[in-house]
Amino acid sequence: MLKIIRDKLPELLTAWARGARVLVPRERGGTRVFLPWEGEGELALGQGNTLEPPKDLFFPRTETMYRYQVQGKDASLAEEPAADARQVLVGVRSCDAKSLAIMDDAFLTKGYVDEFYRQRRENTRVIALACTEASPTCFCTAFGIDPGRAEGVDVQMWPVEGGYLLEAVTEAGQELLRQAGDLLAEEGDAQPPAAAVPPLQVDVSGVTEKLQRMFEHPYWTAVSRKCLGCGACTYLCPTCYCFDIQGENQGDSGYKFRCWDSCMFSEYTRMAGGHNPRPSKKERLRNRFLHKLQYFPERYGKFACVGCGRCLDRCPVNVDITRVIREVKEVTL
């Protein structure tokens, strides 16, 4: 196993930043988010998660798809250049690493490949950081996620006394560690520290099957009453991938972009003639939970929740997915 002392980590990031955009958790306006590393400043690699998940780096909040020109009856369009800049994402927790596998299912499988996502995904290396301390809102283990070792990443890091242990998982990861040169020292007998134990426990077994029989249940009316119908939960969720496509005109030209959208908003399903199949927050909240716990598992064979706890942490009215799971399992049909 290789080790880097804490003070040398910025140098390693700088080395990686020579060939790629390096993104790492840093402080911004009192919160912690993935920000580009530009050679100096503080890192925020302590306990817990970033406020926003790293999904923005694969699936930006807003991205231009193509530009167009319209003159009279004529029109032309030009695709945006490929998003082929290399990225190295450092400090991803196991929950967020798992969310990438979920996003991959949504964007890359079932007949169509989303090119915008694919380009960024293929050009990004992921370096995970194990959790040795959990936050009160963490429940990743409920979904079989190991907070001490992430899946599907290139390099795994563990925080240890005075620095970090690193282990390459993929060839690309080995290449990244080679670039570190003598910043890394061999620590032959070093053992990864014990993984954190998330304090929130919830048993998700059987919840999909139960939900399959609960679409019309009055539970959804009761659980949705306090919901404000805002999109905070969906925008902070590492596995929510819904988007909208819209255009912006600037004289004779303009551009089409896609941006994050939320199933909690009325406009999301409202049709041109005014009909809305999900007219109130009851239907919308139900859809959100069913999507995470029933529809996605039915379609892709896994839950669309990784137990990162962001929705629970930031929901203005404490809509708590772990409580929903427990209550759903207790509801009598």
Binding site: R28, G29, G30, T31, L51, E52, R61, T62, P136, L200, A222, R225, K226, L228, G229, C230, G231, A232, T234, Y235, L236, D244, Q246, E248, F257, C259, W260, D261, S262, F265, S266, E267, K281, L312, R314, P316, V317, N318, D320, T322, R323
Partner: protein
């Protein structure tokens, strides 16, 4: 504060059992000790869910809009700021006074849940007042049908100074600094609309931000559109903001939304004379009325 909580449960039970109301809206214990989210009780046997503690932060007034088109009569527990929210909704003709039964609570001020989480339960006694309560001018409800008694007397209204301290800081900045301050804040805005959805002054049946096709505000999450949202929201609640601070509390990104609201309150006070929204049913907001001696400065 046990006294208040027992009275709450008893009154809720009575009102539901008598059929005087069909629902009681209060607070209950949430996932963690520092969370007391809104609770909706319809069964008299279910009233022991209701709690009153220092984390009963949510302003409940806005929920009445969800039941506007039902025949239900609803009882609502109101702190000072909840009651001001009700006055706002009544002034906007959003709710029918007859369909609402208000149970007042003299509010000692609620505590900051986020700081509570950071301090831990062992230090519960040290959790500071929520930002929204530090400058509260009306801890006692301004409107109610009954007022819960008890020794939990409301603390005295906070002194006026400090109320505009954040505004003064921003006003002291140079235009470039101010631009940097607000763009940095609103570049973070996710456009989740939690601030709008929790606000008792934001009660349009159809909000322009839910009509992206209208072309007023693009759905792009970028500076120009975020700023358009920020300013439009702030201007739209001008003269109607009751300073309950819920917008700022619910913002997942911690944007200092109240500084914007308070700047407008301060300006309105200077232009049209002192006015506090949601305090007096009979006193219309400065921008909701016309007076011959209004200042004419629309150039």
């Amino acid at each position: 504060m046990k006294g208040i909580q027992e009275q709450m449960r008893a009154r809720a039970r009575e009102l539901l059992a008598q059929g005087a109301v069909q629902m009681v809206i209060g607070w209950e214990k949430g996932t963690f000790w520092y969370l007391s989210p809104p609770a909706f009780v319809t069964d008299p046997e279910d009233c022991d869910r209701l709690v009153w503690d220092e984390f009963c932060t949510n302003n409940l007034a806005k929920y009445l809009l969800d039941y506007k088109h039902t025949g239900d009569r609803i009882a609502l527990f109101v702190k000072g700021c909840d009651a001001r929210g009700i006055v706002r909704l009544l002034q906007d003709n959003q709710i029918d006074r007859e369909k609402v039964y208000l149970i007042g609570i003299k509010c000692p001020g609620v505590k900051d849940g986020r700081q509570a989480a950071a301090l831990g339960e062992a230090r519960r006694g040290e959790v500071p007042l929520a930002e929204k309560c530090r400058y509260c001018t009306h801890p006692e409800p301004v409107l109610y049908d009954e007022l819960l008694a008890g020794d939990a007397a409301a603390r005295e209204a906070a002194p006026g100074e400090g109320r505009f301290a954040e505004v003064a800081k921003v006003e002291a900045m140079s235009p470039d600094e101010r631009y940097a301050f607000w763009t940095a804040a609103y570049d973070r805005c996710l456009r989740c609309y939690a601030c709008r959805n929790v606000c008792p002054a934001c009660n349009c049946r159809e909000c322009i931000f839910d009509r992206s096709q209208s072309g007023w505000c693009g759905k792009q999450m970028q500076r120009s559109e975020n700023m358009f949202f920020a300013i439009t929201r702030a201007m739209h609640v001008a003269g109607r903001c009751i300073e309950c601070g819920e917008c700022e509390r619910v913002c997942p990104e911690g944007i200092p939304i109240m500084a914007l609201n308070k700047k407008i309150i301060k300006d309105l006070n200077e232009l049209f004379g002192e006015y506090e929204a949601g305090v007096d049913l009979e006193k219309m907001p400065p921008l909701g009325q016309y007076k011959l001696d209004d200042p004419e400065e629309f150039h």
